[in-house]
């Protein structure tokens, strides 16, 4: 169920999580699941991260890890912060309209 809704919002969620703290793929996968957004498969999350990096919204660095091979960490760039601010506003307005249409009483 969450997967259907998440389509189109995954990038926004990733930006939000990365604003909180930099992270690597598995870490982000776990945090999305903990937030109640379900399990996002690697075949979906890594291309989304690649797109964010290609468009300059996040940057990445490979770092050695204590437990295994190096890890690719992602963090928000300045452009990413701006994009997040803009999209957050858009989403707030859009979700307010949806609530009004489907008659949700009180949500946030």
């Amino acid at each position: 169920m969450p997967r259907l809704w998440l389509h189109g919002l995954l990038e926004l969620c990733l930006l939000g999580l990365l604003e909180e703290q930099r992270d690597y793929g598995l870490g982000l996968t776990n945090r999305l699941a903990e937030a109640g957004l379900g399990f996002v498969p690697g075949g979906t999350i890594y291309p989304a991260l690649a797109r964010l990096e290609a468009t300059g919204l996040v940057s990445s660095a490979r770092e050695p890890s204590t437990s295994g091979p190096p890890r690719k960490y992602f963090e928000l760039t300045m452009a990413g912060r701006h994009a997040l601010d803009g999209r957050r506003t858009e989403w707030r307005e859009f979700s307010r309209s949806i609530h009004a249409v489907i008659g949700t009483k009180e949500l946030t």
């Binding site: 498969p41 690697g42 075949g43 890594y46 690649a50 797109r51 290609a54 295994g68 890890r71």
Partner: protein
């Protein structure tokens, strides 16, 4: 037992990624799979499908915008254009404008003069009456033809780049980059005559865009494209538009028409 890493690398290079990037993406994928504690096929799904998604994501880089030429925001203006061949009226009194950073589609029944209109826009056919004003740098992608069977794609890039005082080396580099955006990696010595129809059309699209024209004219440019290439082309069209190019496309693909800014419909041919 499938060889996921080898399949993944093969698919990535088919998408036009260079060998350094392919190596790097393979190492990263295997490292990430190790993080998950699972084999790569369980984390990412089939290698070919994952390579496809990743390659497409990596192509999301933006094209640098065209330098703003403050003078004129209209790249093409047709006023009262008519065309007749003998007694046959092909176009009657067509007026349209395409601004920079705008995409416009031309639709109409078979025989309504769509291709003729585009040729008039390109300047290869003269209208019987009416006026045409257009930007200086125009790219034109015909439905088919327009390429030389004995030359390689890179030789085409050189030739077309030379037409606009570009250095030859840069023509090839730019051409290869644009080809990669359509998921095509030209092989060095293969003449165009040996390419499939769809790949020859990709060459046409690259040639149309090569000199970064202000006005790009596309005449159903996707004959023979597979679905992936078709999706890539529309992504490219959005990108050209967003970076200040004026795009005029003749299309039968009515399902994509919500992606353009405006639609011009030509009248059905007279009986």
């Amino acid at each position: 037992m499938s060889n996921w890493p080898a399949n993944f690398m093969h698919a990535l290079s088919e998408h036009g990624l260079d060998s350094d990037s392919v190596q790097r993406l393979k190492s990263e994928a295997l490292e990430q799979a190790t993080d998950h504690g699972l084999p790569p096929e369980r984390v990412f799904g089939p290698a070919t499908a994952y390579a496809d998604r990743l390659a497409r994501a990596l192509r999301s880089t933006t094209v640098p915008p065209l330098p703003a030429s403050g003078k004129e925001s209209v790249a093409l203006r047709l006023a009262g254009v008519s065309k007749r061949y003998g007694r046959r009226q092909v176009l009657r009194d067509v007026s349209l404008e395409v601004g920079r950073g705008e995409s416009v589609a031309v639709v109409g029944a078979n025989g309504s003069g769509k291709s003729t209109l585009l040729q008039i826009c390109a300047g290869t056919v003269k209208p019987t009456s009416g006026t045409v004003e257009r930007a200086v740098h125009v790219g034109y992608v015909p439905q088919s033809g327009g390429t030389a069977p004995f030359l390689t794609p890179s030789e085409h890039f050189e030739l077309f780049a030379a037409a606009r005082a570009d250095s030859r080396g840069r023509g090839i580099a730019t051409g290869l980059q644009l080809a990669a955006a359509l998921g095509w990696r030209p092989r060095a010595k293969q003449p165009v005559g040996q390419l499939s129809g769809g790949t020859r059309q990709k060459l046409n699209v690259v040639l149309g865009e090569l000199s970064r024209p202000e006005l790009l004219l596309l005449d159903e440019p996707y004959q023979g494209f597979d679905h992936g290439a078709y999706v890539d082309l529309w992504t490219q069209i959005d990108r050209w538009r967003d970076t200040g190019t004026a795009v005029l496309i003749v299309s039968h693909m009515l399902s994509e028409l919500d992606r353009v800014d405006r639609i011009v419909e030509l009248d059905a041919p007279e009986e």
